[in-house]
Subunit: 233 residues, 2 copies
Amino acid sequence: MAALDRSLISRLPLFQGLTPDEQSEILRDARSSRYAKETAIFEQEAEAHSFFVLIAGHIRVVRTTPDGQQVIARYISEGEIFGVAAALGRTTYPASAIAAVDCVVLAWPNALWPDLAGCFPVFGAATYRTVGTRLQETQTRVVEMSTEQVEQRVAHALLRLANQTGRKTDSGIEIDFPISRQDIAEMTGTTLHTVSRLLSKWEDNGIIVSGRQKVTVKDAHRLVVRAENRDKR
Amino acid sequence: MAALDRSLISRLPLFQGLTPDEQSEILRDARSSRYAKETAIFEQEAEAHSFFVLIAGHIRVVRTTPDGQQVIARYISEGEIFGVAAALGRTTYPASAIAAVDCVVLAWPNALWPDLAGCFPVFGAATYRTVGTRLQETQTRVVEMSTEQVEQRVAHALLRLANQTGRKTDSGIEIDFPISRQDIAEMTGTTLHTVSRLLSKWEDNGIIVSGRQKVTVKDAHRLVVRAENRDKR
DNA sequence: TCCTGAGTTTGCGCCAGCGCAAATTGTTCC
DNA sequence: GGAACAATTTGCGCTGGCGCAAACTCAGGA
């Protein structure tokens, strides 16, 4: 197996604060893999063996209920760490990770976590900062689900996607991976029918353009109005 | 200021795995405070200066939306660590912590976190395990809010409270701090009216007994049936 | 090119649960 | 003991959004 190149990670925020040598040392223990679109990097409830960093692509983190309903916990973008069960003392993954498009992923065996976090405290701290952010985001989502109407929640979800993974095009900000009405419904606790109706309405109003597994936000400003349920003249 | 006695923490899971000497050493940096019922230990958005362990009482962690609506993120029970913004690299508290009854709390300045976690890895690991559990619980709540009806969510919330903070009495499991219909509504994303109706119905069915700021679960088994929305003969 | 299947749109009817309002009950503090 | 307040209960009407069903549209493969 050829050694992995440091350039893979040197630009990622997670590894900032490490010297080039340290970056190379961390990489020595990593294994690189490709995952085809719609395949699983790991499955909910499975024994956690590794933690991961996404090098290229987009990943959907999904929780499935006992009766088979799915809820999308979050999307992972390039450069993010995920599957960090080890760092939090869990032995199984609480959700599944599915490649939303073809992906390249680095993996480290969980057994190395104590060493890595011990030898490179900056790396450990960055990871825990990420965990903190996610906890807070998840709580924000609970608050939204508790206090907002469906239209507001869907608007918020689109704005978040546009900010985190949006790609600027001449006609607006396009979400740069395939996302269906069903996916958006599973992010916001509603049905694909309701999402479809909302998107149709917004398209009529010129706020978005959308197609099959594709959404482009044309007027983020007016989408914010929907998200905050303000006066919609 | 008198030194704090090691017996305060020696029985807590969080400090298991530390020698008596280490426990005393950690305690040397702690400050003990009392908080009267309904007073704040810290406020949402405030600069995070300390992290805490609850020695006695019950604490409500609350998030308030810009327009003043409140959502209860969780309850903290005796022995739990909370306000761990420092460990997650945040500089402000993402929610307020309110004493649900008179409380005794230990506080450590945030500045000590790196030292403590470094010198006592067992303690750091236990904390991150707690964070992991909370992240998972919060995600479970998102799933519940997305997929369950109000009756199921309220039943789940009561069962969780009964398990975590229930006190066995001759008539059932009593939640051992004052909790209003409004509180339960803020935990489950509904209104106090709906909660009141549900509790009335369950009381008619002999599943619970409830009074002003008080709920006693008499038949947890039948409450599980409500939580899972199974056949309610 | 046509076929097939997945993704999407839209109409229609219904109902869980909210909002409002008023009555009632229990607690606390003079 | 009683006044004042906080918490709870309950009735009533309405509606946001779901469930079902059917039609439609697009992309990719044979």
